[in-house]
């Protein structure tokens, strides 16, 4: 960290319930190595107590502080000002797309979280399952568990062009969760949650989800891999060698 000081204009989306959205600008002296969330918090604390935004952990484990920064989905607690602005420049901050805006930068995560619950998403897994299947497994042979990669921040859903045109689409995070759970314990129920026109087959392979994911989930790869698994199952059923899946598991 340095002690350099930059002057940056933060152009922030503002909206009260039932009213039209506008932008409001705040000029701050910042350390370029501060995070966007620090600047947003300072705007609230020192300039404008009416500003609303979501945040909790400030270190990328909780997923609450997702916003669009200069039009791009970012987890603001780990996005340095230096990475998105220059001295004397402007940073535009918007709420995530494809979620209802409650006010300012606060979106309603309710439907998304309830869909994650339906996908039987479990936040803790053995390290082997928590890592991506194509990653090298850790050298340490001891059994360890960890919190999995998806922090349910919603950045992938905001960035997804398919989610932007079809609000019934369950979205990349939910499909990635289904893939993760299916990898641990295959079931017909999980297949049914993914194998429909507002599920796996709505994805247009834009790969925006994987681009913006701050947490190594790789939803696009998981969607493609889940398609492969389902098509594989269908082919096997045609040729009479159906993969064993637990019914009603």
């Amino acid at each position: 960290m340095t002690t350099t000081s930059w002057q940056v204009r933060f152009k922030v989306y503002r909206q009260r319930t039932g009213q039209k959205g506008t932008y409001q600008s705040y000029v701050l002296e910042v350390d370029p190595d501060e995070y966007i969330l620090d600047a947003v918090e300072r705007i609230w604390a020192q300039h404008d107590r009416t500003l609303t935004y979501r945040h909790a952990c400030h270190h990328s484990t909780c997923g609450a502080c997702g916003m669009r920064v200069n039009g791009r989905e970012k987890l603001t607690c780990i996005t340095t000002i230096r990475s998105v602005a220059k001295n004397g420049g402007t940073v535009t901050i918007d709420p995530l797309r494809n979620f209802p805006v409650l006010s300012d930068l606060v979106v309603d995560m309710g439907n998304f979280f309830l869909r994650m619950e339906k996908s039987e998403f479990d936040s803790v897994a053995s390290e082997e399952h928590a890592n991506l299947p194509y990653e090298k497994s850790p050298g340490n042979a001891e059994k360890a568990e960890r919190l999995v990669d998806c922090i349910e921040c919603g950045l992938c859903i905001s960035a997804c062009p398919a989610a932007n045109t079809d609000h019934e689409y369950v979205g990349p995070a939910v499909l990635a969760a289904i893939h993760l759970m299916y990898s641990q314990s295959p079931s017909q129920k999980l297949i049914d949650l993914a194998d429909h026109h507002t599920g796996l087959w709505r994805c247009h392979s834009a790969y925006e989800c994987t681009q913006v994911c701050p947490s190594s989930v790789d939803p696009a790869w998981r969607i493609m891999d889940m398609r492969k698994k389902i098509i594989g199952n269908r082919l096997k059923s045609v040729f009479g060698r159906q993969e064993k899946v637990k019914k009603n598991a």
């Binding site: 604390a45 609303t52 270190h59 909780c62 309830l114 479990d122 919190l147």
Partner: protein
């Protein structure tokens, strides 16, 4: 004594407020929680996420240590969904650390904390990133949790029992009858900028480091000292266990794994206003150097984020490190002659359930409501279900 369903307003949806909402709802209260931001957006969210075994405090603060180990065991049972549990080590790096070991070992046992000296070689085999210079290693049942999800799982269980959460609702005043009783709160719905009032039989101030500021709105005082510390998250998980320095609580004495990250902490200083605490770059550097003594590998890992969190330490004449990590419930009727309001503050994330239990016990005694606490026995709801049965509160 009251016979109809009693009502409670809880101010603050951090760990304590969420756990208390669950406890009171489970005991039959009609519960509303008002919170000026998102769940866990104050101190709770910004914890390093250590599920304490209690060993950190066993020599200096045995009361807090005993609370921690008891709650550690309970949380692993009821909130498994938010906890990665791989245990922890306390390691000695020099003679002074070694000299601390006998007191540490015996006091941990006195406090009921399972502790085992495991030998340097075994520790290095299990955690290859540990410093080759360690002189002793003890294993304890430490873990790591996700802070937002821990708050949400209590909140989800509260919602399932009928509690309502009003996030982004700022308390601007208390409803007082002029005869020494608080009957509820006045709030602003920050989404719509609407004023609103909540009436209740009891109001509980569960605002942690802000408990003094909120109590002051009602003309009351609570001796809480916001005591921030800095934490740093790194891009790579370097150990599977929590690594503690075998010494009295000090700056930079802990490194824990969380998801793919390592998180180190922490410093300790005091502030008056906990609303905005800038990250001090010199403290970040100091933490980094101290933690790299435990795990030199950290020097090769990029920092991912640095943040501050204000502990709610219960004040008095002592300062920071010497203040107890245990918690306190204040009945303002006994302390200040003001009825209808209670404050709970202090404590640790690990002990939030028992803080809630004790506070709910006090509330039940005050209102003559007789219903036992069951929160230690029943597994909590899936945290996603915090969003079930939602109303739009605006």
């Amino acid at each position: 004594m009251i016979n109809t369903k009693p009502s409670a307003i809880i101010i603050g949806a951090g760990f304590t407020g969420c756990a208390l909402a669950y406890d009171l709802a489970q005991r039959g209260f009609d519960v509303a929680v008002v919170e000026r931001g998102e769940l866990a957006s104050g101190t709770s969210g910004r914890t390093h996420g250590l599920l304490h075994s209690g060993a950190r405090y066993c020599v200096t603060d045995s009361e807090a240590a005993i609370e921690c180990i008891q709650e550690n065991i309970i949380l692993r049972r009821i909130a498994k969904q938010c906890i990665e549990f791989n245990g922890g080590y306390f390691v000695a790096l020099n003679e002074a650390d070694l000299a601390y070991a006998p007191a540490f070992f015996s006091q941990a046992q006195v406090c009921g904390i399972p502790v085992e000296e495991i030998g340097v070689q075994r520790a290095l085999e299990s955690e290859p990133a540990l410093s080759r210079d360690i002189l002793a290693a003890y294993e304890v049942p430490d873990g790591a949790f996700d802070p937002l999800r821990l708050a949400m799982t209590f909140a989800a269980s509260a919602v399932q029992r009928g509690a309502r959460f009003y996030t982004f609702h700022d308390v601007i005043g208390f409803l007082q009858d002029g005869k020494g009783k608080v009957n509820g709160v006045r709030v602003t719905d920050r989404h719509g900028n609407h004023p609103w009032e909540f009436n209740a039989d009891i109001t509980i101030n569960a605002t942690g480091a802000w408990a003094g500021v909120v109590a002051e709105i009602a003309g009351l005082s609570v001796p809480v000292m916001p005591t921030p510390g800095v934490m740093v998250a790194y891009e790579r998980r370097v150990t599977n266990r929590v690594i503690n320095r075998l010494c009295e609580p000090d700056d930079g004495d802990i490194l824990l794994p969380q998801r793919r990250m390592a998180v180190i902490g922490t410093t300790s200083f005091e502030v008056n206003d906990a609303d905005y605490i800038p990250v001090a770059p010199d403290q970040v550097q100091q933490m980094h150097e101290r933690a790299a003594l435990l795990v030199p590998e950290l020097k090769n890992v990029k920092m991912r984020g640095a943040y501050m969190s204000a502990r709610p330490l219960i004040g008095g004449m002592m300062s920071g490190r010497s203040l107890s990590r245990t918690f306190k419930c204040y009945d303002h009727f006994e302390n200040d002659g003001m009825d209808g309001i209670v404050t709970v503050t202090g404590g640790k994330a690990t002990t939030c359930r028992v803080m809630a239990e004790n506070t709910a016990d006090l509330v039940c005694r005050k209102l003559g409501w007789n219903h036992p606490c069951e929160s230690a026995e029943v597994p909590l709801q899936d945290y996603h279900l915090y969003y079930q049965n939602r109303e739009v509160h605006s």
